[in-house]
Subunit: 368 residues, 2 copies
């Protein structure tokens, strides 16, 4: 196995300080503007908390303008007592705080070869925040869902043509009933201590911890309990993939993944100077059990130190201490394993829509 | 015992939504400008994370302008190998993330009667953030402190006259050696995912979790290991108090405390509409064991629900569900107890400099 990605001589640069903000290095990296799609910059991927202005954005349609005073959320469908919730009612409930990271299902899509269509995300369609709001479960219980209920359908206020010629429709996503009833599936109105911003779903969005971001519907408008699995563009045409066994399925939990956030790819490091090789790891299936790190392209591996930051559903910071001993080319790779036995693969699994890209990603440095 | 604080008829207002930002309600509340002293607004005291622009500020002198590229921190005194740390070296070490709340020792000073001198803080000289940096301990070990070392003295770059006529001096504070060596006593350069701001100690400050804020020296310039307890204005003339047994001592750990953040004092609440009576609790001595809440001024009490937010050294969110049953005047009080047996007192302990004010604070509401 070789995990080396050659560094072209002209791209070698001296590693700068990890936290010094350089012009352009600490702003969202735009991918598209209508609708807004933008990545978190690498500099912010080194911090446990992603500041809200740097939290990645993957909108599907233009941001709707909503007045919280007139906003309300209906829960209907296969229920005995339809419920309508005003913003005022929601924020007067006990506020629950849940740290949770979120990854776009298309993160690292641009690493695929051959290339695939879709937003060409590099490494930054992943972020971590502290959300606050109220669990959804009591509302579903209050509505009294039928014994035949199988899914809960969430509709955002955002709407548009998912593809040219398809006609205008709202953003809609369903969750299996038992996921909608999870105590940490939340109606959220606050992000990292501030009112939710328009880009992130003001006034109220869903947060589904451990799932890819497409499940956390923004600008929530209505919730419908349904007795047949939902079929819709963003449910059964997008955010689906065929796994290696040939079975096609909807995306759900984030697959196990890690990345190296420091040092940066393409930098040079002086012999004898210690480096904290650092990064993040996560898995929707359960806590991270270990991260193995190699500085020789996968020939030998060592256990990374797990930092104490795996709080709630946030990501796990890890690091190893490394002192480069001789000049040359080094390929750093990290590989995470979760508590349920899932191991990050060495290679990306190519799929035509470019989802769930979690192969180990080499970071090449030159020791000088 | 009566804990009732009468509401003057003209001040009764209808309770608004807890999270709706009203003009002026979501900005720092200024106390002084030279140096900057400002409180966190009540609206932000309802969130686990205090956004950095709303984190309380208690500076002692003007904010120094520091260039991170030329900044360095020296460790000398009773050591065998003096150490000099550049910003670049510090940020290349493994980054450690520590959630920690901080309270100014003078918080709630304005509640004392008779009045005392000093910044007239109300309830907002307390905040919570996620700090990141490197532990101090390895640097002290590297310096090789002497067997006679008893304290570590921290000096900030900020300086001025602590009192008119006293002459100019830097801000200096010492810590007992064993506190300086605690693994979570940190040299911090990042606050809630962003580079530390000038008001909060850029480029590097100390964070001493569990201690009142005066220990977390900003704009760190030098660290000196000393063999005799330090004597200085901010160590032995301020931030000292005589306890109820008559013993005078320096302030250190935050005393056990809680407050009611919702509903607000002086509001009216409709009969029959449920209210999440909510607040925060903390203690420097250990985790919060329980918070007792009374809505009848202390006649009867109930156990509050402890939310899952007591992460690291952050504060503990709590709430009780309450549905006002009949019109009238209600006095809400909360009382915290920590794991080491400390119980928040019913009354404030008056002391001439106004420190460690932790008596239960009634919140009066009118049910209509």
């Amino acid at each position: 196995m070789t995990l080396c990605t050659c560094i072209k001589a002209e791209s070698v640069k001296v590693a700068e300080d990890p936290t010094v903000t350089r012009p352009g290095s600490h702003e969202l990296v735009p991918i598209d503007t209508r609708p807004l799609v933008a990545e978190t910059p690498l500099s912010a991927l080194r911090s446990w908390l992603t500041p809200t202005p740097l939290f990645y954005v993957r909108n599907h349609f233009d941001v709707p303008e909503i007045d919280a005073d007139t906003w309300s959320l209906t829960i209907d469908g296969a229920v005995s007592n339809p419920v309508e919730i005003s913003f005022s009612e929601l924020v007067r409930l006990p506020k629950k705080t849940v740290p949770a990271m979120m990854e776009c299902a298309g993160n690292n899509r641009s690493d695929l070869d051959p290339k695939v269509p879709g937003n060409p995300f590099r490494d930054g369609a992943v972020s971590n925040a502290v959300w606050a709001g109220a669990p959804l479960k009591p509302f579903l219980q209050q509505a009294g869902f039928s014994s035949g209920a199988v899914e809960v359908l969430f509709e955002g206020t955002d709407r548009g043509e998912p593809e040219p010629g398809r006609g205008e429709a709202p953003y809609q996503r369903s969750l299996p009933l038992q996921i909608a009833l999870h105590p940490d599936t939340m109606l959220v109105y606050e992000m990292s201590g501030e009112t939710l911003t328009p880009d992130h779903g003001f006034p109220v969005r869903l947060i589904v911890p451990r799932w890819y971001g497409m499940a956390s519907v923004k600008w929530l408008k209505s919730i419908r309990v349904i007795e047949r699995p939902f079929v819709g563009f963003f449910q059964t045409e997008r955010y689906v993939m065929t796994d290696e066994s040939g079975t096609e399925g909807q995306l759900s939990l984030m697959v196990v993944k890690s990345f190296v956030s420091w040092p940066e790819h393409g930098t040079s490091l002086p012999v004898g100077q210690p480096v904290a090789v650092s990064g993040m790891a996560w898995s929707g299936a359960g806590p991270i059990r270990r991260v193995d790190v190699s500085i020789d392209g996968g020939a030998t591996w060592q256990d990374a130190h797990m930092d104490e930051s795996a709080i709630g559903y946030s990501w796990q910071e890890w690091h190893i201490d490394w002192t480069p001993e001789e000049p040359g080319h080094c390929t750093i790779v990290a590989r995470a394993a979760d508590d349920t036995g899932n191991l990050q693969p060495l290679e990306n699994y190519w799929n035509p829509l470019g989802y769930c890209i979690n192969g180990v990603k080499p970071v090449c440095v030159t020791v000088v």
